[in-house]
Amino acid sequence: MTRMETLELIYLLCAVCFIVALKGLSSPKWARQGNLIGAAGMLVAIATTFAWPGLHKIWLIVIGIVIGTAVAVPAARMVKMTAIPQMVAAFNGVGGGAAALVSLADFNLSHRSAGIGTSAAVLFSVLIGGVSFTGSAVTFAKLQELMTGRPVVLPRQRLLNIVLAVAALVFVIWGLAAGSMVAAVLLCLAALVFGVLFVLPVGGADVPVVISLLNAFTGLAVAASGAVLRMPLLIIAGTLVGASGTLLTQLMATAMGRPLTNILFGAITAKPTTAVAEGATDRSVRTGTVDDVAILLAYARRVVVVPGYGLAVAQAQHTVHELAQLLEQRGVEVSYGIHPVAGRMPGHMNVLLAEANVPYEQLNEMDEVNGRMGQTDVVLVVGANDVVNPAARDQPGSPIYGMPIIDADHAQQIVFMKRSMRPGFAGIDNALLYDPKTTMLFGDAKDTLSKLVTAVKTA
């Protein structure tokens, strides 16, 4: 076996590690091991690459790796749970950028001799990688609230898009025909602009779906770079992520009840919506005291807790679990109604509540709780808003129309814990806050819950 064949064999084993890792990650029991297997495969692949025949500039490579690690590890370690989606977006974006750079760098050496197949792979990688890079940057800015979370449509965006698309097409043809490096660089710039335009019109609530899509994009860009370098390892790993990411994007969009095209292009094609729920603010709101609510809960038969993003912000998962245990000791049947997109990432609530050791049996999916909502005495909405907003059912003009929701309004009583009357992620008013069955408990979710715990103890 030549040295190259040995390397290829090791790379193949690494590719197998990646497949096993993905398989593990899709099963709750093996998820963590899966991730570690993936990391191990990656480590071996990187270490093996140092034995690549004729590899020079080893020190530069090591310095690059050290810099990258020094930036990424603290960022990944320090990030708060609630900020994980933007962290994933950031790491995804740099991967897309790297894929584009690799293709550009290789093309810089080979473009005069490259066949049309290689040129095509380079241009694809540059285009998709570039879109992923700036697209991820914009999602990061949206989620980190460096800019508004609302859909942004630039003036004449359609025209701009068309101009860009034509330009990109020209660069692609030019690049293919002449194997031109200049064309590749120009295409890269166009892709960077296009990435921004692509993500700006997406509403904040839909951003996680876009992250997943850009993740699949980066996978494909990596696969294309793999085709440029003729490396099966990169092709396998990139394609795996591209394919599974595409499926995952679809699954997420389904969980939000919105077709993908709507998420991506909804804002551009939308007619200006009539402000359906405007002027609602003068409606009256019932504010309750902690003691009222404590009694309501303590004497209920069945309580459903609907956690949302505010629970995560307030880090109130342990306190809510304490309250639930207390109520159960009193004979109240407590369960949690987990909306698939509550919080800022799918599964966000599950992760948080698992952290607080809430038994898995109590975590019910949306359909389960909805089925028994008629027999529920109190729904306790902790820092959630959009996921119980009946506008998703009733108001065809609403940006969240069509999303399946938790039918809190079908219960006997609803208690909202939030700090103000401000809207949630989607930026729209929630008529349920003004419902006669609703009691508001204003304040930080953790504070209010601690007070409730004390009050229930004495109730």
Partner: protein, 110 residues
């Protein structure tokens, strides 16, 4: 590397099927960790970056390659670390609840 174009194409096509099938049974709880783990995996572009930097020549290639190594390293390292942090949260669960999360069929071993 000496693979033929059609060999690479075959590898691509098969990988598409593997990618689709392997995650088709994922539970919604795991959407985010899965996305994050997949994100780390495409960080394998680091291997390509190292090769381009280490075997290329000329200032432009060196600069591009060096940047690529840094970005790709962030992708790999950050990706795996953040995924592990997320999944750590699940570990607190006891055996009973863990069994409840498992799909009933035996086909979920990685």
């Amino acid at each position: 590397m000496t693979e033929t174009t059609l060999g690479l194409l075959s590898i691509f096509v098969l990988s598409v099927f593997v990618g689709f099938e392997v995650i088709s049974k994922v539970s919604p709880i795991l959407h985010t960790p899965l996305m994050s783990g997949a994100n780390a995996i495409h960080g394998v572009i680091l291997v390509g970056s190292m090769i381009v930097l280490g075997t290329g020549h000329g200032a432009a290639t060196t600069i591009l390659g060096f940047l690529a190594v840094i970005l790709a390293t962030m992708n790999v390292v950050g990706g795996f670390v953040v995924t592990d942090r997320m999944l750590e949260m699940f570990k607190g669960r006891g055996g009973a609840s863990r069994r409840a999360v498992e799909p009933p069929a035996g086909g979920d071993r990685p």
